[in-house]
């Protein structure tokens, strides 16, 4: 088994050229935005540098760095899980009274014009959606992205984010009703 030489560990320049993109890709699909992903990658290199002396050479350098990044991502999930009182989501249904579970009148879906279907390919529409996702509370945006855009399994998201499946569906439901309304207001109503 090839032993990692000291220069390998003490020369972080090669880390960035060899692994930065790989780590960044791993992070970006799991967190909400580019800046967070960059920070996580940077922190991973820091942590790697700090604990380089503990590296036993059992795993490849890349595997070792990924394991550090994974811990960083879990920490990040914990942080947004515990964030309280952040931008709250608008309710779409009455929460109590006679009309409990019914649509709130001004949130009722409006008809989109017949051309709507043709715009699916539009780049600007995708950007409009991106903008709408960005307006969601961080945790909602994250869960929606993981599930819908990155195609993670429900079970996997629940495990990583430490939430229950029913919790996940409530979040998806609120995110989707919110996104529908946002696209309607910003795009299809025009």
């Amino acid at each position: 088994m090839p032993h990692l030489t000291n220069t390998n560990i003490l020369n972080p320049d090669t880390w960035i050229d060899n692994y930065a993109d790989y780590l960044y890709n791993y992070a970006i699909v799991r967190v909400n935005n580019e800046d967070t992903a960059k920070d996580l990658v940077q922190e991973t290199f820091f942590a790697g540098l700090k604990s380089a002396k503990n590296f036993e050479g059992k795993a490849s350098e890349r595997t070792w760095l990924i394991s550090i990044l994974k811990r960083k991502i879990v920490d990040y999930y914990r942080k947004i899980n515990s964030k309280k009182g952040q931008a709250e989501i608008k309710m779409n249904f009455y929460e109590d009274g006679d009309k409990e579970g019914n649509w709130i009148e001004e949130r009722v879906p409006q008809r989109w014009d017949n051309e709507a279907e043709k715009q699916i390919e539009s780049e600007e529409l995708r950007n409009a959606l991106e903008h709408c996702i960005g307006n969601l509370p961080e945790k909602y945006g994250l869960v929606f992205r993981l599930k819908t855009i990155q195609g993670f399994e429900t079970e996997e998201i629940c495990k990583e984010l430490d939430i229950s499946p029913s919790n996940l569906w409530v979040i998806i439901h609120r995110a989707r009703t919110q996104l529908r309304k946002c696209l309607e207001d910003n795009w299809f109503k025009k």
Partner: protein, 83 residues
């Protein structure tokens, strides 16, 4: 009997959201179809929701790279730390 089938719009749209990922159960789908008979709003929601799914699918999976500048900046910070 009717009560068993009857769901609110909130519940109906939740089932609709689940079915976007193919994760609604058989009985949920029946309840949803029956709800559509009574509620055109939720039927419309479902149509638009499918469109949201389609737009998202178009967004999927581009490969992301860091820019040269990003990497340069990282190197610089890391070197400083390593001094």
């Amino acid at each position: 009997m009717f009560k068993w089938f009857s769901i609110t719009c909130d519940e109906a749209t939740t089932i609709c959201d689940k079915s976007q990922y193919g994760e609604a159960s058989f009985s949920e789908k029946i309840k949803l179809k029956l709800h559509f008979l009574l509620c055109k709003v939720c039927a419309l929601y479902t149509k638009q929701n499918s469109m949201l799914t389609k737009i998202c699918q178009k967004k999927t999976a581009q490969n992301n790279c860091l820019t040269k500048e990003d990497k340069q900046a990282m190197k610089k910070v890391l070197q400083e730390k390593n001094m």
